[in-house]
Amino acid sequence: MTNAVKKIGVVGINVIMFIVSLSCIFPLIWMLYSSLKTEQEFNLNIMSLPSKPQFQNYIDAFEIGKMGTYFWNSAFVSLLTVVFTILFGFFTAYVIARFKFPFRNAIYFMFLAGMLIPIHGLLIPIFVEFKTLALLDQPYTLVFPYVAFHLSMAIFLFENFIKSVPLDVEEAACIDGSSPTNTVLRIVFPLCLPVISTAIILFFLGAWNEFPFALVLIKSANLQTLPIGLTNFNGQYTSNYTQMLAAMAIVALPVVIVYLIFAKRVMQGMTAGAVKG
């Protein structure tokens, strides 16, 4: 290959890569800058930058579209999901990693199999189950399925990690008189912080973005989460694109900000199951 041909190839591949990257990010950038335009300005030219950026669409989305209520509902459900998944998952993974007990393998296998069960098949039976138990339409309703669906991944990640933590420290602590729970919380848990922070991001994103269970299990508008709020918003204000874009930005921005700060960890977290498996 001559040098000239090689150079064209190098430039070509770099250009292709930029086009790919641009196609991944441009719709998001377009959403953000278009949400700052007025409706008239948007209708005149859908691609132009806002001549005078204004935040009226966001104010409307919060005031008319009740995005504030949905936002706090999402934050509440996501927070509880993260806390309980980590808490339950960590202690269960700990006993599975450290001790022999009856049905140990069966329990571990049950959780791992949970990763392969298509959870959409559970939508209807869980709806019926919750209806029977009067668990529909409560502030904490969604926390049950969200924690349960993330437990498999939590136990899988934590069990793997705890096995790699040497036992000596725990034994020494116990011989010095530390109670088992104290030892787990004060010594094992801090050692597992890298994998726990990965898990926090993974479960937060999962709960924040979840749609079908939130759609089926919550009916009252005061308790709905952001993705459902967005579909309500669209139904009521179909023609107002810029308000809709602002509402979408409200759903997307927290996630994008988390991602920009913790990009490496987010990528690690989202692909953790596949890379380790």
Binding site: F91, T92, M110, E171, N209, M248, V255, A274
Partner: protein, 295 residues
């Protein structure tokens, strides 16, 4: 596993560690699977009246053209995703591993952005991209002078499945890219250096070193791709709601419509069982095919 009596908690403490997860998981996953099977034997609209009808729901399901059409739609998404997501991600990961591409970190970070976004946002965003008058896609075609290509992307039953599949493929390329990059980085660089000494060029290195060493990763990726796309729902629900007619209805959408719009919870449960069986079957088939090609 080490067995150390010093750190073993007392029986009660032990059960407190173990049981919350097990009970919650049983209550949210195991019991619902069994319930779905039970309800599938009844004609039931959600009220107190439940008629046991044995296997009738399954008899209907086997010849229900709407269900099988929805299954074919899922298969189309799976097929396009295996080719599109895994193929494109693999190609990009090779570019990003080579020395000639600049700003690798930037590309990696940016291509992963759609993965973290809510599929509902993606659905609305692409709904706007496809919009007839105010859509970015038709604007682009007009700007490029390709007016004849302009189509009612989400309203034409013949092309709507491809239109709704494109965002799904687009959204998860970054996911498989990161998986492949992680796997490629774990390949010992000495193998490549030795191959280079033997005169192997870029394509040959890819074909004879990267591809074989990545075969298990590719198999996992294909499995995830199948499992992920059998449950496709959110973005299609938002873009078309399964329409026009039932042309973009996928299995999850059909189960939802049957149960919560037509209030046929018994039949909806039979559809759910069908979804679970078909998904697991497809994953097993893909494993069997993948297992064979290794020998």
């Amino acid at each position: 596993m080490n067995e150390s009596s010093a750190i073993r908690p007392r029986r009660t403490t032990f059960l407190i560690y173990l049981l919350p997860s097990v009970i919650l998981f049983a209550f949210m996953v195991i019991v619902p699977v069994l319930l779905a099977v039970r309800y599938s034997f009844f004609k039931w609209s959600g009220g107190s009246k439940m008629d046991f009808i044995g296997l009738d729901n399954y008899r209907v399901l086997l010849t229900d053209s709407y269900f099988w059409n929805a299954f074919l739609n899922n298969l189309l998404i799976v097929f396009c995703s295996v080719i599109g997501q895994i193929g494109i991600a693999f190609a990009i990961s090779i570019f990003l591993m080579s020395k000639i591409v600049k700003l690798k970190g930037f590309h990696r970070t940016v291509i992963f952005v759609p993965v973290i976004l809510s599929s509902v946002v993606i659905g609305f965003l692409w709904g706007m991209i496809y919009n007839q008058d105010a859509g970015m896609l038709n604007w682009l075609l007009r700007t490029l002078g390709l007016e004849s290509w302009i189509k009612p992307w989400l309203d034409d039953p013949n092309i709507v499945m491809y239109s709704v599949t494109a965002p799904i493929v687009w959204q998860y390329i970054g996911f498989y890219l990161i998986i492949f990059l992680a796997a490629m980085q774990s390949i010992n660089s000495e193998i490549y250096e030795m191959a280079e000494l033997d005169g192997a060029t870029g394509f040959k290195k890819m074909r004879h070193i990267t591809l074989p060493l990545l075969s298990s990763t590719i198999k996992i990726a294909i499995m995830l791709c199948i499992a992920g796309n059998m449950k496709a729902f959110d973005s299609i629900f938002v873009m078309t709601g399964g329409g026009p007619g039932s042309s973009s209805t996928v299995m999850a959408q059909y189960a939802y419509d049957t149960s919560f719009k037509a209030y046929k919870l018994g039949y909806g449960s039979a559809i759910s069982v069908g979804i679970m069986i078909l998904s697991v079957a497809l994953i097993i088939v893909s494993r069997l095919i993948g297992g064979k090609s290794r020998d």
